[in-house]
């Protein structure tokens, strides 16, 4: 890297080290970002990206190392110090007050007159919006906002405070492809305005699309900084993982794909009486991975739980077809459904919530599915212990032993325990909801391999995912959910990301989808 003139550099971190107890989150990390530049901070989960940026935004305080802003060495002890230096961070989990309006959230914590004078503030916010191309109603309450709107509030909040350096932590994780494009356009506007932008991400294609330079972290240490135009997906992955990785997800087409689950007209209402699922119909086939795409909260969770017998169903049917037998699953208890061979490796947002019991060890967790099979008053621990040992060996689970509470395991290993347990019960249907959420690249590929393995055995796999790239590569077909309805069932091999993105935001409007699809294909529609 060539030395840069001090005036160009907005923020410089030098030899930053931070430890939590015995865990070293960052070790001698150095990086800088220039004005009018977008720097991507790339790394796997747990590589210390967020920790590093939290020290820049005043959430944590570094154990050692220097931070300088505009060439001047500074000490950042609190978020307020960071604001005063013009550094603002947009956190992955939005820090907004739900019951307040956009304006109120934006002026929160600022000095000024005793009265807020909301009208004047709203005007200022509209000016910022117009300058960078945001669309925002300043008087809208946050709890009425979509994820993308909330993100807009977060970014304006930082700009309103006069930030010159913006840090965005995984900003695209919750956005549709269209919203991501819009965000990137705004980021480019800000870059042209002379702002320095750091974007934390592990999505390589986005890094290549938006950034000027990339700094890669691995296990808390800085691997290096490269110019984006000289980088490729392959080189970045190798930097991130530390060795070469095969990023191809295999997708074999099987000849035998008999119908396994026939879901028709499935309707569920949530606690507020709103239809969480509205007339959902599709078929899950054996020997096939059926992906479910949709914006978070479009009914994925309810769908999984309805199939598992955990969610009250208003109307509709779930037919389970095995050989020449056909059975109705609606109305059966979860245990009866499991007995029929429908297994749900459900991974809710907190993965230890519904799948595993955090404070129990592996043996006990494995036993949860099988303890009813043994007769007598006492449970048999020998068989589950043997199974746990097999799982550790086969799935390369890193654990001190089978008697360690699963809570102490890392996310990827917890996921392997859960999936391993479900798979070992020889399912006919496997429902995997967000099985790679929060997993690093290696563990993710292990999970994909496991799912593919099940598919080859003829299992019908229902895969609820969030990363469209993965969904399109791994799955045979995709069901797209939008606001509780099926907005399309597409062949993943021949469908583009844009088309799926449009389906994710257009419920019911088949005409619009067709128009959108044609647009995406470049044929264009006159309106």
């Amino acid at each position: 890297m060539t030395p840069l003139a001090a005036s160009e550099v907005a923020v410089q971190l030098t030899n930053i080290t931070k430890t939590f107890g015995k865990v070293c989150a960052n070790q001698n990390v150095s990086l800088n970002v220039k004005k009018g530049e977008i720097l991507a901070l790339l790394g796997e989960n747990g590589s210390g990206k967020t920790t590093l940026m939290n020290m820049l935004s005043g959430i944590y305080f570094p154990d050692s190392g220097q931070i300088s802003v505009d060439g001047r060495e500074v000490v950042i002890r609190s978020p307020k110090d960071a604001f005063d230096l013009g550094i603002g961070m947009i956190h992955q989990h939005f820090k907004l007050v739900d019951v307040m309006t956009a304006t109120e959230n934006i002026v929160l914590g600022l000095r000024g007159g005793m009265n807020i004078n909301r009208a004047a503030r709203a005007k200022e916010i509209k000016e910022i919006s117009a300058r960078y191309g945001f669309v925002l109603d300043p008087d809208k309450k946050v709890y009425n906002m979509s994820v993308s709107e909330k993100q807009t509030v977060e970014i304006i909040k930082v700009l309103y405070r006069g930030a010159n350096t913006l840090i965005l932590d995984e900003p695209t994780a919750v956005l549709t492809p269209q919203e991501t494009d819009k965000l990137f356009e705004i980021l480019r506007n800000m870059k042209n305005d002379g702002k320095a932008i750091i974007i934390i991400t592990h999505k390589l294609n986005e890094v290549l699309q938006i950034s000027d330079r990339v700094t890669i972290l691995r296990k808390g240490a800085c691997v290096g900084t490269v110019q984006t135009r000289e980088a490729s997906v392959k080189s970045l992955t190798e930097g991130m993982v530390g060795r070469s990785v095969n990023l191809e997800i295999a997708r074999e087409k099987l000849n035998q794909t008999p119908d396994r689950l026939r879901i028709s007209g499935l309707t569920c209402k949530n606690a507020e009486g709103v239809k969480a699922l509205d007339g959902v119909s599709f078929t899950v086939r054996g020997g096939e991975i059926l992906g479910v795409a949709g914006i978070a909260g479009s009914g994925q969770k309810e769908l999984c739980e309805a199939i598992a017998g955990l969610y009250p169903i208003e109307s509709g049917s779930i037919l389970y077809i095995h050989g020449d037998k056909t059975e109705e699953l609606v109305g059966l208890k979860p245990a009866q459904i499991v007995q029929k061979g429908v297994h749900t490796a459900f991974v809710p947002e907190d993965r230890l919530g519904m799948g595993l019991v955090a404070s129990l060890d592996m043996v006990d967790n494995v036993m949860l599915k099988s303890y009813r099979n043994t007769k007598g008053f006492l449970v048999d621990r020998k068989a589950p212990k043997a199974l746990a040992d097999t799982l550790i060996e086969r799935l390369e689970i890193v654990t001190p032993g089978t008697s360690t509470p699963v809570r102490r395991l890392s996310g990827g290993n917890v996921q392997k325990v859960l999936l391993g347990r479900e798979i070992s019960s020889d399912p006919a249907v496997l429902v995997a909801a967000y099985p790679v959420r929060g997993l690093d690249i290696n563990s993710s590929y292990t999970v994909y391999d496991l799912l593919n393995e099940q598919k080859k055995k003829g299992v019908a796999v229902l895969f609820i995912g969030e990363d469209l790239d993965v969904l399109l590569e791994l799955c045979d077909r995709l069901v797209v959910l939008c606001a509780g309805r099926v907005s399309g069932v597409v062949d993943a091999a021949v469908t583009g990301k844009e088309q799926v993105g449009l389906l994710m935001t257009h419920a019911g409007g088949q005409a619009e989808i067709d128009a959108g699809a044609k647009n995406a294909n470049g044929k264009g529609v006159e309106t």
Binding site: Y60, S78, K95, L96, V99, E104, L108, G109, G112
Partner: protein, 332 residues
């Protein structure tokens, strides 16, 4: 009953309701302020006992020291200051335990109730023993709590007696309620306080000193509870220490916070309603209905209110989201 008699009864009932409502209103306002900072302080009853005891003690000790030279105004100011400071001390104990030491909020609040009731009754009885039987302040001090007659306004028939002829604490409580509404909705500091109670992590990231807001709101809130307690011992029981004088009013205040949906303005209506229920039996006696039934009414109403409010769902009129949860910045 004649028509004049009915009007007179209604007026008397209303004024008695105001008398009973004032300590409830002060304590409710105190607890609203506290909960807005995210502290669910269940120690209201205890802080009221501390305020009741400290208020009467300050007056009594001053009178005992000065003898005949005692000044009523000084005595009352001491009572007010004593009540507020004692309540604020309760709030401070709670803040140190929950904000700094991160003790469980529910346990701390319940403990504060037991502690406050114990210490209030202990020193109240001690005061009585020193006074030789029972502790009671003199008319010099008591007269300061007389109703304030306002020029013209108090002369309005019926309404004048109902609205413009009360003691100074009643007006103070109403002014505090109005000020608090303005403070929470219009000012920057009020906005920041609400943010602390809703989402301390957000407030922290916005550069707000979460601990300072929690401490201040809880101590000021405790002070208001203590002032409510002072009103009980000094006005409701006419400046005589009565064992167990707070008698569950702190708990009604906790319920009133929910009834008022964390709005100081609605707290005025709620307090008046519950104050009225608690004196109903003197003004609307029904033959063959035991007085115990009347005593039950406010508590039954509390239960009904709690059931209704827990059914009602809404984001805005709800408890501050982070209420009851301690905040620790570096929690991972």
């Amino acid at each position: 009953m004649s028509e004049v008699g009915v009007v007179q009864t209604i007026m008397d009932f209303f004024n008695a309701a105001v008398l009973a409502a004032t300590p409830l209103l002060l304590a409710t306002l105190g607890e609203i302020l506290t909960e807005k900072s995210g502290n669910l302080n269940l120690g209201v009853e205890g802080m009221m006992y501390m305020g009741a005891m400290a208020g009467i003690s300050a007056s009594w000790l001053y009178e005992a020291a000065m003898g005949a030279a005692a000044n009523g105004l000084v005595s009352v100011l001491l009572a007010v200051a004593g009540g507020i400071l004692a309540g604020a001390l309760g709030g401070l104990i709670y803040s140190v335990l929950t904000v700094t030491l991160r003790a469980n909020q529910n346990v701390t609040g319940l403990t504060l109730t037991i502690f406050g009731a114990g210490i209030g009754n202990f020193f109240g009885e001690l005061l009585g023993m020193r006074a030789g039987g029972y502790a009671s302040i003199t008319d010099v001090t008591k007269s300061m709590f007389n109703n304030i007659e306002m020029p013209l306004l108090s002369k309005i028939p019926v309404l004048g007696k109902m609205l413009f002829s009360h003691d100074f604490v009643v007006y103070m409580a109403v002014i505090v309620a109005v000020l608090m509404t303005w403070f929470l909705n219009k000012t920057r500091v009020g906005l920041n306080l609400r943010a602390v109670g809703e989402s301390p992590a957000t407030a922290d990231a916005a550069g707000i000193n979460v601990a300072r807001y929690k401490y201040l709101a809880t101590c000021v809130g405790g002070g208001l509870c203590g002032l409510g307690g002072m009103y009980i011992s000094m006005v409701r029981f006419s400046g005589t220490w009565v064992h167990g004088c707070v008698d569950g009013r702190g708990w009604i205040a906790v319920a009133l916070v929910i009834f008022a949906a964390w709005s100081p303005a609605r707290a005025m209506i709620g307090a008046l309603l519950f104050g009225g229920l608690s004196v109903l039996r003197y003004y609307m006696p029904i033959k063959d209905v035991a007085t115990q039934f009347y005593d039950m009414v406010p508590y039954i109403a509390t239960v009904v209110v709690l059931v209704i409010t827990s059914i009602r769902q809404g984001k805005e009129r709800a408890q501050p989201k982070a209420c009851g949860i301690n905040y620790f910045r570096e929690e991972r």
